[in-house]
Amino acid sequence: MSETPALKTEELLTRALAGDAAAFAMLVRAQQRSVYSLALRMLSDRQKAEDLAQEVFLQLHRNLASVESGEHLQFWLRKVTVNRSIDRLRREPRFEALPLEAADSVACEAQDADPLLLRRLNSLMKQLPAAPRAVVLLRYQEDLDPTQIARILSMSVNTVKSHLKRSLSLLRERLGETARSST
Amino acid sequence: MNTLSKRTLPTLVAMLALLARIAVAAPPAPLKLPDFDALAAKAAQSVNITLDSNLLGLAAGFLDSSKPEDAAAKELVAGLRGVYVRSYTFDKDFVYAAADLDAVRKQLSAPGWQRLVGVHSGKEHANVDIYVSIEQGRANGLTIISSEPRQFTIVNIVGSIDLQKLHRLEGKFGIPKLQLEENK
């Protein structure tokens, strides 16, 4: 998902670790799309998502020395973002309720499909519990396979597959209900 | 006061030796020595020593056993509970009155204390009285009152004062050989 080639990312990491603020800003610019989107769709609140995403990058800045490579950077950012989001949802369950306008605006980003369907899917995502929601996001937003998702979420591959299967089934079912009610 | 003849000397010395061998009973309380501040102000030289058991122990810790004088003192001080000395030397005769010592002599007339010997030395114009404290037949205190025209001294030693050891201190502190009989 990163727009920065792996080699360049590692070079930026080295420079950022040496105290180059511009290099770190470039790293943020390259990774913020993924981090922010994960937070937004987990929390369903733009302001909270932006705040959480910034905290993730602050944490990254403090832990730059522990990041070994560009690939490790992406793994680290996804893991920290999802875990922080899940923690926030557990502490503040009201985040489970997705404001309508937030769902609309998130869906508007996609322009090559039925806007109503995309909006409905985004809205249905909020009905998924935190862990399955994270699994779906990592699978379809970040385009990761079940093995990679299992590593990030510290769960077994079978559990990831199970969450995916149930979540798709639930979404399909809800979409069908919507279609039936609209006809 | 009886004047003793030469024949009585062995008796006195024998008694001293006997006292030295007697086990010591609980010692008497230290004498209440009067406040001699007024006399101290007139004195050319004054000695005021108060060594209770704690200070005696502390002093003993600083005695160097390798020195004969210190070693002898260390041995002597082992059984003592207190050493109190008041001594005043004046520039003129009889600045002090004999009555100044009455308060001490009165305490020595109490039961337990006995006057062992009193001497007058014409040479030094000195009167020396030696008292011992006897408790259940045991000696556990020694008091010396010495009065001279220009000096008086009170020594009060509480505890087991071993006269045999004093005897062995001859030459170390100017203490004379008392010719005590040795234990048989």
């Binding site: 602050l58 499909a113 | 004047t3 006195l12 062992l116 030395s121 004379p176």
Partner: protein, 116 residues
């Protein structure tokens, strides 16, 4: 149907860029945090430093007090030793007078009151 749903999900969950302001916000927070870190050491670092200083000061004071007490004790001990030796010397002098009188009956008189 399944592939359609998955494609739709990929479309619906396309990443959203928070914009340049987000990057600026992150960098501003990092700069702010760096300033605060430079201005005030972390509490535990401060506490540790003060604890170390307090321990060091206590240790030095303890050593000085112990040394002073030892010096005073030594001084008092030496004074007590001198007083003891002086007391024994005075005792010896007075006993010496008694001894000489007792041993020189021609020049002295002595009395014996004790019945010991």
């Amino acid at each position: 149907m399944s592939n359609d749903l998955e494609d739709s999900l990929r479309a619906a969950l396309r990443p959203v860029d928070p914009g340049e302001k987000f990057t600026a916000g992150v960098m501003a927070r990092i700069a702010d945090e760096s300033r605060r870190t430079m201005r005030a050491p972390r509490p535990h670092t401060t506490a540790l430093r003060w604890t170390s200083v307090a321990l060091a000061v206590s240790l030095v004071i303890g050593i000085l007090v112990a040394r002073e007490l030892q010096l005073r004790r030594t001084q008092r001990g030496l004074e007590a030793r001198a007083e003891l030796l002086q007391a024994l010397k005075l005792t010896g002098e007075k006993l010496d007078i008694a001894y000489r009188v007792v041993n020189d009956e021609e020049h002295a008189e002595f009395t014996k009151d004790s019945g010991v």
